[in-house]
Structure formats: structure tokens, C-alpha cells
């Protein structure tokens, strides 16, 4: 974990490290479930990230489900109208970018947008409130912004990556992915003596394209993670400076509202773009 954060007095360093530490649970070598002794353990689960992300996902589902259940054509409530604005925004983005027909992609975009937005929004809760409250009831660590956990953003981008593979497969047939990877960007020739060069070209293409393919989910998740982690870190640093933090905190929070929304939107938009690229037939 980020033990190198903060070179100030020892207490400041401890404060920052404490704030960046997830609440973890894992099985140790003896087979017992232990809390917060999981450095380097691949089987560990960040309980706080999971809790908040699932909590916010359920919040999203509940809010929109309530609207969907009672949605009336005649006289929408203000809340319904607000939710419909979001739905229409997502729907317009999907229709602008994705030209195929898919029943999955629009709900996926909506879920991604609202869920990521809510998870990012946790950043605006003052950094000490929830950790102190949880410390008071005996929970040592509590990291409340799930998107500052690289596991969370990777988890989502891996789902998107799998969807990219599925969409490529569905749109272009079983071997299309391999063909896509090996026949682009340099088109190998299979005629005449050039056929000798073809395997090398294809191998070269494969390396390039695999890197490009894998870069998609990695960049998708690291962009979100990096932005939110940096924002969170600056909130923690601002929180260190005592009473004078208030104007600074306010200024950064106002700026962060922009980042929160923008990152959620970018994540949604890129998801749509990647899937539309995958399902495009040349």
C-alpha cells in the first residue's frame, strides 16, 4: 500500500497511509480468515470497496427501479423527470455512437455512468467523516471512494473487455478476432514470393494489435483510477493543514464536481465507443 505518501512529520505520514489503506480480509497461510494482514495476498478482498460499490450500485438500481416501476406518461414527477433526463442523455450518446442494434449496450452505459458517478461522488464527503465514524464502532480502516481502488476500476474494465471480445465474435464470426489481430495494420500479401514475408508480418501485427487491444481496458480503468486517486489524495493533503483547509477544501471540491461527472461520462462514452468499434463490420 502507499506507504510512501507524505514526507512530513510522522503523524502526517501515518494519517495519509491510514486513509489510503483498504479494509481487507483474507485467508492467511494457516487457513484462517484475518483482517488487515493481507499485503501481497491475491485472495484478499477489500471489504470497504466492495461494500460501498455494491451499496451505491444497489442505490442506483433502487432509485431507477422505483422510477421505472411508477413511470407514467401523463404526469411525471420531478424525480422521474430528473431520472429521465439522465436516461435520455445516455440514450442519445448511445444512438450517436453505436449504430448497431443491441439491447445490452444502452442499459450497460446507463449503469456504468450512474454507478461510476455515484462512486466518484463519495469523494465529496469530507475525508474524515466516515473513517472516524467507523473507527468509533471499531472498524480500523475505511476507504469510502470505491473508484480510488484500482481493483474496482479494473473489475469494471475487465467486464467491458470481455464484452468487447463477445461483440467482436458476434459481429464478425468465430475467427474474426484472430484475423483482426493478424491482418492489421499491415496487410500481408499471400501472392507470389511475398508469401514468405507474410508470417513475419502477421506476427508483427499480432504483437501490435494485442498491445492495442489490452491497452483498452487498462487505459479505461487507469484513467478513472488515476483521476479519482489523485483527487482523493489532494483532499487528504488539504485535510492535513488544519483550520485553513476550509476555503481550499471548498475550492477543490467545486473543481472535483467537474472531475467526478467528467470521469463518469468518459468511462461510459469509452465503453460505448469500444463496443461499437468491436461490433463494426469493415
Amino acid at each position: 500500500m502507499a506507504a510512501e505518501g507524505g514526507h512530513g512529520p510522522k503523524t502526517s505520514g501515518e494519517y495519509i497511509t491510514h486513509h489510503l489503506q483498504n479494509l481487507q480480509v483474507c485467508k492467511n497461510e494457516t487457513g484462517d480468515w484475518v483482517w488487515n494482514q493481507c499485503a501481497g495476498n491475491m485472495g484478499a478482498i477489500n471489504v470497504d470497496s466492495m461494500f460501498w460499490s455494491v451499496f451505491l450500485g444497489v442505490t442506483f438500481c433502487f432509485l431507477f427501479w422505483r422510477v421505472a416501476r411508477k413511470s407514467s406518461t401523463e404526469k411525471p414527477t420531478k424525480f422521474q423527470a430528473a431520472m429521465e433526463i439522465i436516461v435520455e442523455m445516455v440514450d442519445a450518446s448511445v444512438k450517436d455512437t453505436f449504430h448497431g442494434t443491441s439491447r445490452l449496450i444502452a442499459p450497460l452505459a446507463l449503469t456504468v455512468f450512474v454507478w461510476v458517478f455515484l462512486m466518484n461522488l463519495m469523494d465529496l464527503i469530507p475525508v474524515d467523516w466516515i473513517p472516524m465514524a467507523s473507527a468509533a464502532i471499531g472498524i480500523e480502516y475505511m476507504k469510502v471512494v470505491p473508484t480510488t481502488d484500482v481493483n474496482v476500476t479494473f473489475g469494471m474494465s475487465i467486464a467491458v473487455f470481455i464484452l468487447i471480445l463477445i461483440y467482436t465474435h458476434m459481429a464478425k464470426g468465430p475467427f474474426a478476432l484472430v484475423k483482426d489481430l493478424m491482418l492489421h495494420p499491415i496487410v500481408p500479401s499471400f501472392k507470389g514470393p511475398a508469401i514468405i514475408a507474410a508470417p513475419f508480418i502477421m506476427a508483427f501485427n499480432l504483437v501490435l494489435e494485442v498491445v492495442a487491444l489490452v491497452a483498452k481496458p487498462i487505459s479505461l480503468s487507469l484513467r478513472l483510477f488515476g483521476n479519482m486517486f489523485a483527487g482523493e489524495l489532494i483532499f487528504i493533503l488539504i485535510a492535513l493543514i488544519g483550520w485553513f483547509q476550509l476555503p481550499l477544501h471548498f475550492g477543490w471540491a467545486v473543481f472535483h464536481v467537474l472531475i467526478v461527472t467528467l470521469q463518469a461520462f468518459i468511462f461510459m462514452m469509452l465503453t460505448i465507443v469500444y463496443l461499437s468499434l468491436a461490433s463494426e463490420t469493415h
Binding site: M42, I45, T73, T111
Partner: protein
């Protein structure tokens, strides 16, 4: 910042939430939206149609009004000419009546004059005879000279 099992937990959570959204959230909201869009579209079309109808009705009303105005003008003209006619007729009748009365009066006057003249003649002749009698009482007998006296009276 280690990669650990949280990653798979998050992937599973995402799959569940996306499935839920696809199944229970997106279709009803979108169908409600589309239905409302259609209703608004229909409403606007209806409004356009009624607007057109209103314009047509206004044109029709204008036409009717101008027709009525024309009719009124015609009636007014007719009435004017009729009034003129009546006045002219009255004038004519008056002129005729005056002439008639005038002639009647003239005739009466003449009649009266004649009557007066006869009377006067009678009286004058009587006076003449009386005076002649008085003069001739001594000389002439009235009867013998009656023819002369009659001629005299005629000449007056």
C-alpha cells in the same frame, strides 16, 4: 493498491447491476419516454390542425361578413332610391292636386262671377225699369217699350 480478489467481486457486481438495469430499469423508462414523445408529437399535430381549422374558419367568417356588408349596402341603396322615388311621386301628386284644385277654384270663381253678373244684371234692369217707369209714367207706357228696355239690360 494490490490487485486482489476485489477485482472479480466488482466484475460480478457489475454484471448483476447491468443485468438488473437491462431487465427492470431500461425498458419501462424508455417505453414511457417514447410513448410520451409520441403523445407530444400527436398533440402538436392536433394543435397544428386546429390552428389551420381556425384560420379557415376566420377566412370563412370574413367572407360571410363581407357578403353581409355588401348585402347591407345593396339594401341601403335600394331604400335610398325608393325614398327618392316616393318623394318624386309625392311631388308629382302634389303638383297635380294643386292644378286640380286651382282649376276647380277657377271654375267656381267663374261660376260665382256669372251668377253675380246675372243677379246684378237683373237688379240693374229692374232699377232701370223702375227709374224708366218713374220717368215715363207720365209719358210712355212701359209695355210698349219693353223690347227696347230688354235690349238695354242685355248690353249692360
Amino acid at each position: 493498491m494490490d490487485i486482489n480478489a476485489t477485482l472479480f467481486g466488482q466484475t460480478i457486481a457489475m454484471v448483476v447491476f447491468v443485468w438488473f438495469c437491462m431487465k427492470y430499469i431500461w425498458p419501462p423508462i424508455l417505453s414511457a419516454l417514447e410513448e410520451r414523445q409520441q403523445q407530444i408529437e400527436e398533440g402538436l399535430a392536433a394543435a397544428d390542425k386546429s390552428q389551420e381549422a381556425l384560420v379557415a374558419a376566420e377566412a370563412q367568417a370574413d367572407e360571410i361578413i363581407s357578403e353581409a356588408r355588401q348585402q347591407a349596402t345593396g339594401i341601403l341603396d335600394q331604400a335610398h332610391s325608393r325614398a327618392n322615388e316616393i318623394v318624386a311621386e309625392g311631388k308629382d301628386a302634389g303638383v297635380k292636386e294643386r292644378e286640380r284644385q286651382l282649376t276647380a277654384a277657377m271654375a267656381e270663381i267663374e261660376q260665382e262671377t256669372n251668377k253675380a253678373r246675372e243677379e246684378l244684371r237683373g237688379q240693374v234692369s229692374a232699377i232701370a225699369i223702375a227709374s224708366a217707369e218713374k220717368i215715363l209714367k207720365r209719358e210712355i207706357d212701359g209695355t210698349t217699350h219693353e223690347d227696347i228696355l230688354g235690349k238695354l239690360a242685355q248690353e249692360i
